[in-house]
C-alpha cells in the first residue's frame, strides 16, 4: 500500500530492512541522546552518526532538504538572535552590536542538534510505511486513543482535501476569483472554512456512530499485542542494529558526562 506519505518507504536499504519496532527503539534512544548533548566536542560525532544513517537509508538529499526547509526557517528565527543576546564574552563589536562567543556556541549547538534530531526522525519514519510505524508505536505502549486518532486523520485527511477541492471548483465555476484580495473574498474564505469545519464535524459524528455500532469503546478481553523481545534468525539483524544504536546512545551520554567542556 503506497501513499504520498510513504514516498520512499519501499526502498531496499539496510535501514528499510531494519524491523520498524526495533528501529523505533534504537533510533529513539539516539534521538534522546542527541537531545542530551551539551558538549561541543561531541557535535562532530553527532554529525557523523547522522551522516552514516542517512547514507544507509538511500533517501535522496533533495527529500531531506525539502522536509527540513520550513522547520529550518523556524529554528533560524530562534538562533539568529542568540549570538547578540546570550553570553558575556564579546568576539566582535560594531557600535552597539556585539557578537558574543557563548551565544555563537549556543546557536551552533542548537542548530546541529536540531539538524541531527530531525534527520534521524525523518529516517525513522521515511524508511517504513506510516502504518508500520503506528503499529510499532502501539506495540511499544502508545495510547490506543492516540493511535486511533492518528489513523483516522490519516484516513480522512485526503478526503477532506478532495472535499475542499470540489467546493473550490464549484465556486470557480460560479465566477469566484480567489486570487483577488477583497473584503468579499475574505468573507467567502471564512464561510468556506466554516463550512468545512461543520461538514467534517458532522462526518466525524457519523463515523463515530459507525465505530460504536461495531463495538468500539467496549473492548472485551482484547489482547494487547505489546512488543515482545524475540530472538530468532529473522530478527537477529534488527536486534543487533538496535543494540548498536542503544550502545552508541549510551556512549554519547557517558562522553557528555565525563568529557571536559569546550
Amino acid at each position: 500500500m503506497k501513499l504520498v506519505l510513504d514516498q520512499y518507504a519501499y526502498l531496499d536499504s539496510p535501514l528499510h530492512r531494519w524491523q520498524q519496532d526495533y528501529k523505533l527503539v534504537g533510533l529513539l534512544s539516539l534521538i534522546f541522546a542527541f537531545a542530551f548533548i551539551q558538549n561541543l566536542w561531541l557535535l562532530p560525532v553527532m554529525i557523523t552518526i547522522t551522516w552514516i544513517l542517512f547514507s544507509l537509508s538511500e533517501i535522496p538529499i533533495s527529500f531531506l532538504i525539502k522536509r527540513l526547509r520550513y522547520p529550518g526557517w523556524f529554528i533560524l528565527a530562534v538562533v539568529i538572535f542568540l549570538p547578540f543576546l546570550s553570553g558575556n564574552t564579546p568576539i566582535f563589536q560594531w557600535g552597539h552590536l556585539i557578537i558574543r562567543q557563548e551565544g555563537c556556541w549556543d546557536a551552533l549547538l542548537i542548530s546541529v542538534r536540531f539538524f541531527c534530531i530531525l534527520t534521524v526522525s525523518l529516517i525513522l519514519f521515511s524508511t517504513a510505511p506510516f502504518l508500520s510505524s503506528i503499529k510499532a508505536m502501539r506495540s511499544l505502549g502508545l495510547s490506543q486513543v492516540i493511535v486511533d486518532m492518528t489513523l483516522l486523520s490519516y484516513r480522512y485527511l485526503e478526503e477532506l482535501g478532495e472535499m475542499l477541492t470540489t467546493m473550490q471548483r464549484a465556486m470557480k465555476l460560479r465566477g469566484f476569483q480567489p486570487k483577488r484580495l477583497s473584503r468579499r473574498n475574505l468573507e467567502v474564505f471564512a464561510q468556506l472554512t466554516g463550512s468545512m469545519l461543520v461538514r467534517s464535524y458532522e462526518r466525524s459524528l457519523r463515523i463515530y456512530q459507525a465505530m460504536i455500532l461495531r463495538g468500539y469503546g467496549c473492548q472485551v478481553n482484547s489482547k494487547k499485542n505489546y512488543w515482545k523481545l524475540e530472538i530468532n534468525r529473522s530478527n537477529l539483524g534488527s536486534l543487533l542494529a538496535t543494540l548498536t544504536a542503544i550502545a552508541t546512545a549510551i556512549s554519547l551520554i557517558v562522553m557528555q558526562v565525563f568529557l571536559p567542556s569546550f
Binding site: M1, I207, A210, G215, G217, V220, S222
Partner: protein, 266 residues
C-alpha cells in the same frame, strides 16, 4: 416431529427479531422525528422501509441500534430490551455512505476492526474475515486501500465489514444510492440470498419489490402502512399522499387491480 423441534419452532414464531412499542424520538425541543412507532419483525423477514426524505427512516434505524435515545417507548431485539448507548452485537447497520464506515487503512483492517473490539481470537478473526469477503464477493479487494475503491466495491466491503460481526439483524440505509446498474444488480442478488433478518430503507422502490416481502411506509415519523410490496406500493393515492410514486413495475398491477382485469393466462 420431536417435542424439541416443535418447541423450537413455536419459540421462533413467538420471538420477534425487532419489537418496537410506542417508540417516540425527537431532537431536544424540536418537532418529533418519530411518533408512536409500533412495529414487529419476525426472524428471517425481509422488510422494506419506504418514505419521503425526512420521514424518519435513518433516525428509526439509529434508534433501533441504540445510537439515539428514544424519548419514549421500548425497543426489544429478540425479546431483550435494549438500552441506549449499549453495544448490541446482534444488530448491524450499513450506512448510506460507505465512506462513513470504512475508516481503516485497508479492507482487511476494516473487517477486523469490529471483531477485535469484541475480543475475537486472531485465528477466528481471519476465518470470519475470509468468510465475509467470500460471501460478498470481494476477496480480491482484501489488501486494497478502502477509500480508493469504487462506489460499488465500497458498498460491498461496508456490508462485509458488518457481516463479519455475524449479526442476526442487518439494517441497510439506502444501500443502492450511488451504485451503477451492475453494482445495484449485484447488491439485489446478494440481499435476496441473505439469511439474516433484514430491513432495507430505500428510495429505490424497484429494489424493495425485488428484495422484500413486506413494506412499511413511514411519513413524518409515523407508520402509515404495513403490508406486502404489491399492496402498499401499487396504491397510487397512498403513495402520492406520502410523497412517493407507484414504481414502474407495479403500474400494470395497479391498473389491472383498478379495472378488475384478470390475467387470461394467454
Amino acid at each position: 416431529m420431536s417435542d424439541l423441534v416443535q418447541a423450537a419452532n413455536l419459540l421462533s414464531l413467538k420471538t420477534k427479531a425487532i419489537s418496537l412499542k410506542n417508540l417516540c424520538f425527537s431532537y431536544g425541543q424540536e418537532r418529533a422525528i418519530l411518533t408512536d412507532v409500533n412495529l414487529e419483525i419476525a426472524p428471517g423477514e425481509s422488510v422494506g422501509l419506504v418514505g419521503a426524505n425526512g420521514a424518519g427512516k435513518t433516525s428509526l434505524f439509529l434508534t433501533i441500534c441504540g445510537i439515539l435515545t428514544p424519548t419514549y417507548g421500548e425497543i426489544k431485539l429478540f425479546d431483550r430490551v435494549i438500552k441506549p448507548g449499549q453495544f448490541n452485537p446482534e444488530i448491524g447497520l450499513v450506512f448510506q455512505n460507505p465512506d462513513d464506515q470504512l475508516f481503516c487503512p485497508t479492507v482487511r483492517d476494516d473487517l477486523a476492526f469490529g471483531l477485535e473490539n469484541i475480543g475475537v481470537s486472531p485465528e477466528e478473526v481471519t476465518t470470519r474475515i475470509d468468510a465475509a469477503l467470500s460471501l460478498t464477493g470481494v476477496t480480491h479487494l482484501s489488501e486494497r486501500i478502502s477509500h480508493q475503491l469504487s462506489g460499488g466495491e465500497k458498498c460491498m466491503v461496508a456490508i462485509a465489514a458488518v457481516l463479519a460481526m455475524l449479526p442476526q439483524i442487518v439494517l441497510y440505509d439506502e444501500p443502492s444510492a450511488n451504485l451503477d446498474l451492475r453494482a445495484r444488480r449485484r447488491l439485489i442478488k446478494f440481499l435476496q440470498a441473505s439469511h439474516e433478518t433484514i430491513v432495507v430503507s430505500s428510495h429505490d422502490l424497484e429494489l424493495i419489490i425485488e428484495v422484500c416481502d413486506r413494506v412499511v411506509m413511514l411519513n413524518q415519523g409515523r407508520i402509515i402502512a404495513d403490508g406486502t410490496p404489491q399492496e402498499i406500493m401499487s396504491n397510487n393515492s397512498l403513495m402520492e399522499a406520502n410523497g412517493l410514486e407507484v414504481p414502474h413495475s407495479l403500474i400494470h398491477y395497479h391498473r389491472d387491480r383498478e379495472f378488475g382485469i384478470r390475467d387470461l393466462g394467454i
